[in-house]
Subunit: 337 residues, 2 copies
């Protein structure tokens, strides 16, 4: 288990989640109910994924935004459940792509049953989720959910395609993480507001909140990969460097390093050599690059906080604000690392 | 190129397809139009898949059934295009699972860009198709398309799971191929009839026609893998045996072989040893097992022909009947092989 001393955005024992404990339990129950809708031969695989993948952040967002924009209904729970299924599908496929053997300390689907089953299992989860999305009897929802899913895949393709690619700009990076992580967060918050029947302004503000929270979370995760300690976070780190993934701190570092250091870095990237942490840590500008990335994420979260001012005060809005505070704390802990 | 002396269900120069040449061209054009709806960085991958995967059988079915049940509309073309995108997505993923390097003599996506990009590319095609399905403004269509897609994935999972599995029955096999191949064929024919606004009887008959044609086609393909010659068919054969896939001829063979031969077969299967053709061909009952499988498919096609009697006579109905005749000829050619 990860060390619990560091707060975790997906830590369901934390107070913002206590408010909606009952609703989160209902989402969990409905995920189990969905498992039984698969062919009996497929059910055990799906059940394993439900038990081991996904931190329920997307359902948390859809429930909290539901409460903050009106009243939490069954549809808000259902939206969260559907988005979590899609998220699970992407995790199963990501683990194949990354060749990951464990996730949260248990074997991944590809490790347990091979890449073939894992590819198909992700597909089955994905198509099941999109089938469920048609049960809303509202095409806006089905369309937006399918579109967000497509964005996630496209973001991942661009990221994979541009490994070891020196021409990647910070804008390219933001575009990629907005698609791969922001899109499903934004779907959770925007569509939840849409279900509450709010004005277009509030709906846009909630989309903005989700997008910024998701993007900041991804930047945090990308910094964590460089700065975190495996003992503390219970996950394999340093994988981005190995895979040539140029994340925000690397892009800042390339921008700010002295000519000699930049040349060394560029040479390693062009030759698709693994970049290891000792090389990076030896560069004077490295700490600054991490700091700038954390600052960028911090600024995003402050903007996200402003989006919240468009909904009236409530315990739900407070919990959404608390999610931002959590992530700000996490960013702060990396600054000190 | 495959030798053209053998008719091919997907041979677009054949006469059943001449009738709808204009409509098939329109589907082709709309597939190209869809390519441009992806992110510019993703477009070239999607374009390659459009050029190299899929024989447009599903659009052919949706157009012909559209004509046979009323009038071919843009919606029938769109349905065909969406189902072809889903089919392409499954081909991309199948090639990863099978470790296939070529498809129709050109490199597969996984061969060209690696498994990672191929997983994501299939996902992007898939989510794009399901997003398009919401444009019909009819939830029955979106839901049925997502459900058929899920069936395809589940069928593939069961098939992968039950490789080298001696407890697989013929019923299990039929269940698997109805899901993995029948479901999308049946979606093409049933939903096309639905778009024409026909009675439930006609809609069911068209569903039945598609399911039986698809199932018979899969049995043909499974026999081809054993009996065909690579020169004649321009594709890699004998892969099912290598992968422990127990197809209908193998199931008949296991049922009918003498005790000694069955024990040899079972032992090889249980030990997950590759089964090669010389072993099989040496078993007296082998030809009979192939013959029974071809007969089963032939019977299905005769039943499918009866389903056609529920729509009134037309050139479109004749073309659907001709597709059955084509497949009957193909089955006959394997019987003689």
């Amino acid at each position: 288990m990860a060390n619990k001393s560091t707060p975790n955005l997906g830590d369901a024992t934390a107070s913002p989640f206590e408010l909606i404990r009952k609703e989160l339990d209902a989402v969990e129950q409905s995920l189990r109910d969905q498992v039984r809708k698969f062919d009996p031969g497929v059910e055990p695989y799906v059940s394993y994924i439900c038990d081991t993948a996904g931190k329920r952040i997307r359902p948390t967002l859809s429930i909290l935004v539901g409460g903050a924009t009106g009243r939490v209904t069954d549809d808000h729970l259902k939206l969260g459940m559907i988005l979590e299924l899609i998220h699970m599908a992407t995790l199963v496929h990501d683990d194949i792509i990354d060749g990951a053997n464990t996730r949260r300390n248990v074997p991944t689907a590809n490790c347990k049953w091979g890449d073939g089953i894992a590819v198909l299992l992700g597909d089955a989860l994905f198509s099941h989720a999109l089938m469920l999305s048609t049960e809303f009897d509202d095409l806006v929802l089905s369309r937006s959910i399918a579109s967000a899913s497509r964005d996630v895949c496209q973001g991942e393709i661009l990221q994979t395609q541009r490994r070891f690619d020196l021409t990647l700009t910070k804008n390219d990076y933001f575009n990629i993480i907005e698609m791969k992580t922001g899109a499903l967060f934004a779907a959770a918050t925007e569509l939840s507001a849409y279900l509450s029947g709010v004005s277009q302004d509030v709906r846009s503000a909630m989309a903005d909140f989700g997008m910024k929270l998701g993007t900041a979370y991804q930047i945090y995760d990308d910094c964590l990969d460089l700065v975190g300690t495996e003992e503390q976070f219970g996950k394999t780190l340093r994988t981005d460097l190995e895979k040539g993934k140029l994340t925000l701190p690397m892009l800042y570092l390339l921008e700010e390093a002295g000519d000699t250091q930049r040349e060394i870095l560029q040479k390693r990237i062009i030759q698709q050599e693994e970049l290891d942490l000792t090389v990076l840590a030896g560069i004077a500008e490295y700490q600054g690059a991490i700091g700038k990335s954390l600052q960028y994420a911090t600024d995003l979260l402050r903007e996200a906080r402003e989006s919240l001012s468009l909904v009236k005060a409530s315990a739900y809005r407070d919990s959404l604000a608390q999610m931002l505070e959590f992530l700000l704390e996490l960013l702060g802990s990396l600054q000190k690392a």
